[in-house]
Amino acid sequence: MMTRKQKTRLKWILAEFFAIALAAFYIYPIFLMVNNSLKPFREVIMDVIALPSRLAVENYVNVVERMNYGALFMNNVIITVVGLLGIIVFSSIAAYTINRTRNRYTRIAHFLIITPMLIPFQTFMITLLKTMNVFGLAGSLVGLGIQYWGFGVPMATFIYANFIQTVPREIDESAFIDGASTLQTFAHVIFPILKPITTTVIVLNVMWIWNDFLLPLLMVNSTERTRTLVLSAYTFVGQFNTQWHYAMTAMVLAVAPSVIFFVLLQKHIVKGVIAGAVKG
């Protein structure tokens, strides 16, 4: 007979086994990507699954040079940083106002901010490009970053709003009593409290903006100067043939920074999501 303790232990082992199997299942395609980025073309084509017979580091050297990696990396940084700044500033202030000032107008505003999450991108692609051409935001890195404000704010506001609900109003009031204005209260008292949720917003948006394909393809693919890493990786995919060894290497190089970023910040994101979810 198993004791109760042993039974619990067995359950845990089973659960862990299942979790590991699931993780392996999800990680496998990424493993294939890295694996094939380290093989010469010949080996990629002959057997996708096999491990490299020797590490083809020259793939990385070639791709870094052909992609002009350094310059494109900076392009990605500019787009992502501009996008993030706007998303965080606008959505945190919006969420604060919506939560603290409750009247008909803020309810309508809340509704209008959140619903765009439901509209598929493809439906307004044409009008977006047309509008951005008029404003001169198409074909520019900063312009693309600004466009992400519109795409990122709904989700971020939603997350912030849920969290701010859990911040007691007494904190605001004590700041007011000390003579702080609304903006001062927000900037010096509330915003610091939002730190875990801000980290979450940063991580979620970096993962998405850094690796986005369709919007950059539409807006900044037209010159070498403005292209992003992911776009550049796609130039190895041709009409019939694909240079798989280079495409995989380019993908690893394009995605790696965002993955590293995610790994570094992931303990915050978990905290943040839980904070918002449970208390909200």
Partner: protein, 412 residues
């Protein structure tokens, strides 16, 4: 407070910065085409043109994924590039109202006839584009293996069956099929279309209008299906998972004697695996008439010139230079290494290009048929053929579905 003001100021600055980036240079040409495999070559071409016309700035943009979608988005938002791409044939008509007729340009005379023909509109008039490459379509085979085993390159079904037997007996897989790729089917099928009629565009049109039936054309109803059945039965272990990469590997490693649906574009990759291999290209056996086994020559992709360009003269100068200058000729052959779309005595140093040219001069070329249907139709066509081979559809069901899709997708 100060922090917030700072952020707001920063944003305002950024916005102004973007606005001021919108500069208008006098002579700019924008190119937006598919086929990124020629990106390096085109950049070289552009750099060379800078020496000829230093004041012209060329913006070159390329993508393969989502190209048709993006082109439509650009077109609809009034952002049509000066040079854009489409397939030839049917799509020539589709974008005709946006593109210039180049008949009176010097480049039209420099163009190979087969290429020029595929740039004409539905009535056979005009030159509504230029090609980045000519092409050959046919059955690519391992010449070394054929010679070693003394197998004759098959030109009829009887010879095909003999060849299959000989290879099977020698323990070599006769075919690698590529049946996992939708476009492999269209490339092979056009040879059977050409065998079925002398007027391929006419027959395609009849199919689109629902007036033609597979049953009335034994080359399609019997021979085409017989061919894919033979390849399926004598091909890869998992034919429906076979892709261009499978075909390249099987051919280069001497595991398969013939590959379906390919052309000169695989040579560089095959040679990357085995630099010593000898390969050739031949027409498919499509009937019992050996004369019908012909390679197909032509251009399947067109670069179109916008008729609403602000820099029309600059664009025309550029493409005329591309097609008629000495550098242009060298570019096609030595830089892009393609089947030359312009008339020239020189030839890219590739087995399949040389062999294709020889085949065409000796046996003639069958008409290129893929260009008369859209790729939307061809994708459906490929999926139906895969369903047939996978056993989900009978031959009659497959034919009925193809006839149906031809009407639905290309019929308007």
């Amino acid at each position: 407070m100060r922090k917030t003001t700072g952020v707001v100021l920063l944003i305002a600055l950024l916005v102004m910065g973007t606005m001021s980036q919108v500069a208008f240079a006098a002579k700019e040409i924008s190119i937006f085409i598919s086929m990124p495999e020629y990106a390096d070559a085109i950049r070289e071409l552009i750099n060379e043109y800078k020496k000829v016309k230093p004041d012209v700035v060329i913006h070159y943009e390329t993508t393969q994924s989502d190209y048709p979608t993006l082109l439509k988005v650009k077109l609809n938002s009034g952002d049509l590039p000066d040079i854009f791409a489409s397939t030839t044939g049917k799509e020539i008509e589709l974008y005709k109202e946006y593109s210039l007729d180049l008949s009176d340009q010097p480049l039209a005379n420099a163009m190979e006839k087969a290429v020029r023909d595929s740039m004409a509109d539905a009535n056979g008039n005009g030159v509504y584009g230029l090609a980045i490459k000519g092409n050959y379509f046919g059955m690519v085979y391992n010449k070394g293996l054929f010679e070693e085993l003394g197998v004759k390159v098959p030109e009829t079904f009887a010879e095909l069956e003999t060849a299959i037997e000989q290879f099977n007996a020698a323990g070599i897989t006769p075919f690698s099929s590529g049946f996992g790729e939708w476009w492999v089917f269209k490339h092979a099928f056009q040879h059977f279309l050409a065998a079925a009629t002398d007027n391929v565009p006419g027959l395609v049109q009849q199919f689109e209008q629902g007036q033609a039936k597979f049953k009335d054309y034994p080359e399609l109803y019997e021979n085409w299906f017989r061919f894919v059945d033979l390849v399926y039965a004598n091909g890869d272990a998992k034919p429906l998972e076979s892709t261009i990469s499978t075909e390249i590997a099987a051919l280069a490693l001497g595991q398969a004697a013939m590959v379906v649906g390919q052309g000169p574009w695989i040579e560089a990759d095959v040679k990357a695996i085995d630099p010593e291999i000898k390969i050739g290209i031949a027409g498919y056996p499509v009937s019992d008439n050996a004369a019908q086994a012909q390679v197909i020559a032509g251009a399947d992709q067109a670069m179109r010139i916008s008729n609403s360009s602000d820099a029309e003269q600059e664009v025309l100068d550029f493409i005329n230079w591309w097609y008629t200058s000495d550098y242009g000729e060298t570019w096609f052959i030595d830089v892009a290494k393609v089947v030359s779309p312009i008339v020239t005595d020189r030839m890219a140093d590739f087995d399949l290009v040389r062999d294709g040219a020889m085949q065409v001069s000796e046996r003639g070329s069958a008409p290129i048929g893929i260009i008369y249907s859209t790729d939307s139709f061809h994708m459906s066509f490929g999926e139906i053929m895969q369903a047939y081979l996978g056993g989900q559809l009978t031959k009659d069901e497959a034919c009925a579905q193809i006839e149906q899709k031809w009407m639905e997708i290309d019929g308007q």
